[in-house]
Symmetry: C2
Amino acid sequence: MAVTLKEIARRTGKSITTVSRALAGYDDVGAETKTLVRRVADELGYTPNLLAQRLQKRRSDTIGLILPTFGPRFSDPFFSEFLAGVGNMAAEHGYDLLVSTQPPGERELQVYRQKVQSRQVDGFVIVRTRRQDARIRYLREIGFPFVAFGRIEGDMDFPFVDVDGIQGMRMIGEHLIGLGHRRIACLAPPADLSFAEHRLIGLRQALATYGLELADSLVRPGDLTQKSGYQITLQLLDSVQPPTAIAACNDLMALGAMSAIQERRLIVGRDVAVTGFDDIPMAEHSHPPLTTVHQPIYQIGKTVCDMLIRLLKGLDVTPHQVILAPKLMVRQSCGANMHRFTTEKGGGVTIA
Amino acid sequence: MAVTLKEIARRTGKSITTVSRALAGYDDVGAETKTLVRRVADELGYTPNLLAQRLQKRRSDTIGLILPTFGPRFSDPFFSEFLAGVGNMAAEHGYDLLVSTQPPGERELQVYRQKVQSRQVDGFVIVRTRRQDARIRYLREIGFPFVAFGRIEGDMDFPFVDVDGIQGMRMIGEHLIGLGHRRIACLAPPADLSFAEHRLIGLRQALATYGLELADSLVRPGDLTQKSGYQITLQLLDSVQPPTAIAACNDLMALGAMSAIQERRLIVGRDVAVTGFDDIPMAEHSHPPLTTVHQPIYQIGKTVCDMLIRLLKGLDVTPHQVILAPKLMVRQSCGANMHRFTTEKGGGVTIA
DNA sequence: TTGAAAGCGCTAACAA
DNA sequence: TTGTTAGCGCTTTCAA
């Protein structure tokens, strides 16, 4: 059925070895032989059996990506774009991308271990790093190649790409303060995620610059979904002293916050400012468009994958730790650029 | 470095064959031998080399999923959920999931061909079927296993799962008409997609029941993104006789439509009704919440994958063509359930 | 320039 | 119950 080297050897009257070398382009094969072999291979539509090739080469030419995701309603627009970046770069270099999903926990590490030991993948892309990250600890321990999107706490002697979350949230904080906000709430990520800390620090720094403090009661951890942003914001709005601005640590929660505000018949940007983080496509087309911090997520996916491939090929990986400067995207949800809205209600920015 | 059968054989003094069979649980192995072998394997932390196993078995135990997606800003919440369904089911049965992205076109088919010929995958999950689908034609031609999410035009002698788009859009149409709408626009999908036709037919059927017609000028094909929904809706609103309802053929475009409407300072559900299709998580938390048609996308992913695995295992796959009944999710974007809104403005449904 | 032989790690037919 | 042999399809010494 399938065309093998053996078959080509039979037809050309050459040995399997010669055929293999002719096809691989070695120059210790006679010119005529080479042409002949190649012609026959083409005619027969030969494609090497990758399984055999990989067994022999003792590499899988496959990159693993295990999405740390919960439940069935997994739908993070952030990951799909990252995935596209990783996937395209992998394909470009002839690598396969093995994707699976596994929520953080005991079993997660088993999955990593299994993929490593069964030699299914040559390296991993790690996403959404945790402050204490068992995956990274394990891979480092056994010396298995990986590149992370995100940092961890403590010893960081491994390759990663990250966006500077401190600076990102500092910009958000300064922007909000500049607009007159003093009572700012924060929709925080789960505390075990690395970027949770960074983003909170950034926000606190911005406030501190102005002699302000982020009240504990206004830091509300969510689970990064729209729903949780929605629910927390309702609570916030119903509290005795509601915030005038809500800085969400990701766009999905920010979008949820906007829904909650609108549900209470308040105007986003006028009555309450909202900001996000990520700049997913949806952010630009929400209503009002969301002020947020841009992460070039597709590009990050490509870069992370590229670094991993270089690592796998034994090439130089410099720099092997990349921290990207974030970019503030000022749109309407924070009350800046409200010209489109002000005509309607004559309102400006509410200053607490 | 890595533990192999050979190593276990050496340590136990048995042959490789015996070790292999002991581990595989064959009962033509002595009880003691079995215990011994297993103990040693455990101690050494043996994990079979899947590459070798697969070469020998001449199967890759891998399912291919090639996302037909364009450009870097790929972020369809619909696919990521589907992906999770497929991935989880695959993992459950010990299959790997090989994911890559490739926009429709010439090269797309090359990618399929390459994966088939290099024996990288045992079968494919095909998504977003086209009316004339080269992928399906090819796979059917060579007899390669696959299961599709979606149907095609013409001969449909292959396994698939689909949601009844005709019925879905008929329900939408009837719902809108029931609310008094007569001038209904449709944000249509690219015409080459199978479901584009179904959904348009459904909408037309609903209108026909009431002696109405869907004006050609009100059928506007988009590219399924939020942005295109936004842009088309602006055009629609600026036309001499704007529609009173906009039935988008997917949620993303519907969300874009809502933005456009709000940008024109109109109230969604009161001034213009909007409906979607898919029921992505975002639909429930948009503002106002989006009336749409629910597709159990995670479940569909699982089912498609399960069918494929049964196919690969030579098990019975009945039924091998599944058409699911869609479910109308009435929320606020269409003007029904407007109690939350009516108090505000005193408005009801605008009847053209 | 070419081919024979060995081996990647595993499974399976067959014989003992 | 066990081991020998062969082979999956490929690459790579090494000798001719």
